[in-house]
Symmetry: C2
Subunit: 401 residues, 2 copies
């Protein structure tokens, strides 16, 4: 008889489900499917030769250190490079305000660990990044959604929500936003909304988690102020990552925040994995110290700009009336809206039959809304695939309409 584990599981395990996106990606792995579903960077952008050369240098110059355990907070050299990197945007942080993580996903998990007990309240965007929802869900948090418009989370509705919660004695542990070229919607929050966001955290005694993996990938328009830069009161943790501006395969990201909060995250990380790979950190630090990150970002921006153009043109050309989409000024994604009565989940089967894939928008909603929406990724598909994929998608939509 096989023993049943049911009585041994934690309550979060009972609740946990595999990511819809990641399970989906397995199903659509057929080579004939053009996928706008993933969120992968274009591998053509990876600086293979530079990484090979730098790795050789790292092993030669500091192999025994790079292959040993390292400090939980991260390699001091890499953290110093990141302090300098922050300064270019006017963000002033000390070394003690920087933590290296295994991708920003670990940053989100750490935020969950230090703030969330079962049932604890927090505020997210509608729609919101699915990895954030998953991380906070794993702590069994209670999530309150505040709708976006084309300028990000609506501050009037946030204020309403915070007041309503306060009336019930509820103070959110934090407000989670992806302010730049949001995943999934592609929209960016302007500076005035960011200022208002900080004001509201002060009024309602909470903090902001600013998750900004795409900020450096702006093709056009002006960059609003980073939220952390607007904060004078220690109310912002900012998560940034090498995954979208260098490569994801090193699994390196970082968090900036008030020293006290970073220190709590360091303690939590000690029990999670002791430290991020010193080998990978040495590679990233050397890549930065040689001034290569700026150049790498230019390469990626040029590539994605072209791909976004191709996708926008194709949407313009093929989509039937009633379908609308965002026009992100950077990043990896855009967001399409079908007519109200349509359901992107129902459409999915027809799309797959047409050999094209996307992620249904409801996956990004903590309230099961967004049924008529979808996320389209333009960074990963090739320049040949983008127009053809959009054409296939339009065919599926027209047929289902």
């Amino acid at each position: 008889m096989v023993f049943s584990y049911e009585n041994l599981y934690s309550s979060s395990t009972a609740r946990a489900k595999r990511s819809e996106i990641r399970e989906l990606l397995k199903l659509i792995a057929r080579p004939e499917v053009i996928s706008f579903a993933g969120g992968l960077p274009a591998p053509a952008s990876f600086p293979l030769d530079k990484i090979a050369e730098i790795t050789r240098q790292v092993i030669e110059e500091s192999g025994p250190q790079a292959l040993q355990y390292g400090p939980t907070e991260g390699d001091p050299k890499l953290r110093e490079e990141l302090v300098k990197w922050a300064a270019k945007d006017g963000i002033e942080v000390d070394l003690e305000q920087v933590l290296i993580t295994n991708g920003s996903q670990q940053g989100l998990d750490l935020v969950g660990k230090i703030f969330l007990d079962v049932g604890d309240p927090l505020v997210v965007e509608l729609p919101s990044y699915i990895g954030g929802l998953q991380a906070f869900n794993s702590y069994q948090a209670t999530m309150y959604g505040v709708p976006q418009d084309d300028l990000g989370m609506r501050m009037d509705l946030l204020e309403e929500k915070l007041a309503e919660l306060k009336g019930k004695g509820i103070i959110p542990k934090f407000i989670y936003v992806v302010p730049d070229f949001q995943n999934p919607s592609g929209v960016t929050m302007p500076t005035d909304r960011r200022k208002r966001l900080i004001e509201l955290t002060m009024e309602y005694d909470t903090i902001v988690i600013e998750d900004s993996p795409y900020r450096e990938l702006r093709f056009e328009g002006e960059q609003p102020e980073p939220i952390i830069k607007l904060d004078k009161d220690g109310r912002v943790i900012t998560l940034s990552t090498f995954s979208k501006i260098f490569c994801p395969g090193l699994r390196l990201a970082w968090a900036f925040g008030p020293e006290e909060l970073i220190s709590k995250m360091v303690v939590a990380k000690q029990s999670m994995d002791l430290c991020s790979p010193p080998f990978n950190q040495a590679i990233a630090a050397t890549f930065m110290s040689q001034g290569l990150l700026h150049k790498q970002i230019d390469v990626i921006k040029e590539l994605y700009y072209k791909k976004r153009q191709l996708m926008l043109s194709a949407l313009e050309e093929h989509m039937p009336e009633g379908v609308s989409w965002t026009r992100p000024e950077g990043g990896l994604f855009l967001w399409a809206r079908l007519p109200e009565h349509m359901d992107a989940k129902e459409l999915f089967e027809e799309a797959i039959a047409n050999n094209v894939a996307y992620v249904v928008g409801s996956a990004f909603h903590c309230d099961e809304g967004g049924k008529n929406t979808m996320r389209l990724n333009f960074s990963y598909p090739s320049e040949e695939q983008i127009p053809e994929g959009v054409k296939r998608l339009a065919t599926a939509i027209k047929k289902t309409m």
Copy 2:
């Protein structure tokens, strides 16, 4: 006014403290201190040239994949190598029973995540690995300690404890053991105790977490059966790591277990960090596929055997009567006992004044026992440092006696 975060923290953050060992390691970083305190592998053993060569190959042959996101469960090539590796010890596992983690510390964290709610019971050894205690503590578990003797956890006392708990309606979520050259004690559990352990899990409806980072590092004597091999009922998760047999700086380890439990761990890992670095996994897979891991283990064993000999001889030569120690047949550590009335914490100051360091044994006890014990590491200090360090330690002990 600076805002206070106290109301925002989770209860585990309120409880968390930095690791005593890791904080200690910072204090004793003076070059004149000979440290037996760390648990670091000898960097002289790291195969730098091989890693440089293999990294070049990985980038050349599969750079775009290795630098991209990968599956949460780990690189299939690495997992296949590990299935083969297991077979050499008679451990039969399928690919679906293997999960790659960021060091075994993440394995411990994942075990905590899938099994432990606040207050949940589990059984640990007295003494036990501090990283395990930290991980389970971060889930606010209730830990019950069962004493070891020179053959590991005492099964008679375990049975007593399980019966006592059952009388109170308490079933431990799992029993956590480090059966081979335990950290901290250096002792190994013989096969008959391992069999009894499995019987007891069946009788008391629980499972075993077998944490075995040092098993491959046996200098002499015969290897008992791995606990997972004795289990026919899906009651064992085994954690193993590259940190002690290859190098820690890649932060790679793995878990073997029943498919259902591994699948739960995969879901939990998705929300923690998406995946372990595919770059590092490709390096480890290539290292294994070239048959280099066996050779590497031979190099390490020769090195550590010599160091253990040096430490045992020096202890024999310098220690005053009343001090005893274990004689581990492998691994990185041995365990010393001072006379009952002595306190290793009080001794520590005198030891540091003599420029030698160790870890106080109480840090490894969930019940604050072990005051007269200490852990001595012999893998990291040099062959010159070991006799000199033991001499200094003996001087400090004699003075304090």
